[in-house]
Amino acid sequence: MASANAVVNVPATTRRGEIIEIKALVRHAMETGFRRTQLGALIPRDIIRRFVCTYNGVEIMRAEFHPAIAANPLFTFNTVATESGTLAFQWTGDNGFSVTESAAITVA
């Protein structure tokens, strides 16, 4: 159910050499590990640690998240449109969290 948990925005068509902006949003509470329940017990950390974007299998951007990233992390970055293909996104984190999403891009 990756599609229900992540949304990516990539222009469907573009020209070769164009710099495109990519937006990626994923559903996650990003529990910081610093909050406490009303009884004083510490709520364990549960965050996304890593977000990687590959373009036709080649890594173009990697981000390491810390608890200061807000819930439901939104991440915006850029890449040069080189060839038609697939942009793949992967978020991994605590407690075995892993979500993947991909988007097709046509480069004219």
Binding site: T32, F34, T37, Q38, A63, E64, I69, F75, F77
Partner: protein, 154 residues
Amino acid sequence: MPSRRNFLIAAGGFAGGIGLGATAGEAHASPEEMLAAIRKVTGQAPVRRGRVKLDMPPLIDNSNSVSLAVAVESPMTPADHVKAIHVFTEKNPLPNVVSVFLGPRAGRASIGTRVRIADTQTVTAIAELSDGSFWSGSASVVVTLSACLEEGLI
């Protein structure tokens, strides 16, 4: 008869009390810890100011989700590009916020995300360039309602 306004004032005071009580014992990062975290990234290399533009709203109402954008002046060619962008805070529980690793294929050294900000403070972004130099930019933010003061209200 307690009016809605009085109730809200009382509730707000109560909530504030819990928040302050809960956070008093928490270790918050200090500017020194931020410098230590920055040094872990830069090593002994000097960090120069400039080339990095950190964009954040100067006044924050909801510090659980604050937009943050970093743009670095760079041609982003294989010979001269930004390798990494790191963001640090002075007063969040941890100094590190995010580390982004880029390359010439980014085309533009510009990233954006949403962060939590604990308190009124200065946020710093450090860019590592392909020639090994480090550049920094910072933004001062004023928080009117803090993210990390809501323990006990979950």
